[in-house]
Subunit: 136 residues, 4 copies
């Protein structure tokens, strides 16, 4: 997971990092940055999606055999509140592992001095492919 | 739409621009950039999502009264092929306009010398809110 | 919730019943029936969807003021395993209540002598409308 | 497709029938019935889902080799208007065929003397499995 995450250029571009890896569960942390915002000044929906997608994808990878890579087949995200906290945390979890397809859910929370606030929630499907195989 | 798009900092960060605005249909263009890629070297899923979300949101806004802003309630995206072309185009369309909620679909295509290739497809819900009202 | 459920003709048609109502959480029970199956002899995807949609809708209604009715705006369902147990249970939960829109998630589990098995999982959006108002 | 549809007990239970089969596109017709309604007297969301899911699944099957069966991996449905017309038609289409996964979209329309009205729209993923293999 760490070796693969290091090759995720977009995560470097937005300043996200892996904050926890456990079997079937991965967390990604992101700090608020002005260049990631939408027209109201909040972190854009697609950035919340980016970090929870990566958290879910790597959560799926933790339960796959070595030498497998992971591709996002599809995801669905509901947005729950505007993202304006200094720190955001995305958690991805495996709901049902499979040889080919793994179903994951994930959440993005905003971390504030007075507690955590749910910002977005994802339900998606990840696909295992051999690392040396061209996707799709 | 143009005034609102100009405030979308994330679009500037990734180099996307508005390429067409028509009633109920908006297009966003993006050029391939290495800093937007995932671990296979393709444009990351969340970036495809970002441009088609914005295309859908503004497609919805074209049918709203003046003074309304648009928020993404939720979206679902299926990924169809890896994004490796030099140019990408996202098209957002209104399927059903509504006073509060507007249902949109959208597509991202890769533009190559030998034709267009579908890369991702979205089905989502947009919400109208008065411009001066705090979201959620 | 009980009065509204009694008017859900489809639930009577398929033999589903309300098995638990709590604030923000509702359960619907269904017994296996041959006339609800698909081509492999399992309970059809749409029947799993029917019971978890109703569980989510009523979970949302438990947190709404009296005199409000609930409409499904959209849902997404992932199917996790074939539904072949004698008893099925759908649980719907409110993730984020709202004045207009409520985000819910839900699960369908198969109940077997040796434990519960996840069959399907839903993420959806419910809308509150005044009971005397025509939907949409 | 016809042989498989004949084994879909739920379709017989609700009175739906196959009305058109073409490569990559299948239609299912349904007549309004009181026993399929929800609390407002409209056809229930899950019944719209049932017919468009089947239309999408068989649309996928038309492009698969003989001896393959189809399973729904996941779907997302947006509901656009209440279903109160005498006749409903679901159309399923293949957006991107694949060896394992096929992405489909579909629509349900209500057919009235004065024209068609969009009622629901689906975006989903279908999986090919050998007919003699146990699902999942």
């Amino acid at each position: 997971v760490q070796a693969s995450f290091a090759r995720l250029t977009l995560m470097r571009t937005i300043g996200a990092h892996l904050s926890r890896i456990a079997p079937g569960e991965v967390e990604i942390a992101l700090a608020f940055r002005d260049d990631l915002t939408q027209h109201h000044g909040y972190i854009a929906a697609a950035i919340l999606t980016a970090i929870v997608d990566v958290a879910c994808g790597y959560a799926a990878m933790t339960l796959m055999p070595a030498g497998m890579s992971v591709l996002t087949v599809e995801y669905k995200v509901n947005f729950l509140a505007p993202a304006r906290t200094e720190q955001l945390l995305a958690v991805g979890r495996v709901m049902r592992p499979g040889r080919t397809l793994t179903v994951c859910n994930g959440d993005v929370v905003g971390i504030a001095p007075d507690g955590c606030q749910p910002l977005a929630t994802m339900l998606g499907t990840m696909m295992a492919i051999p690392e040396n195989q061209t996707p799709h």
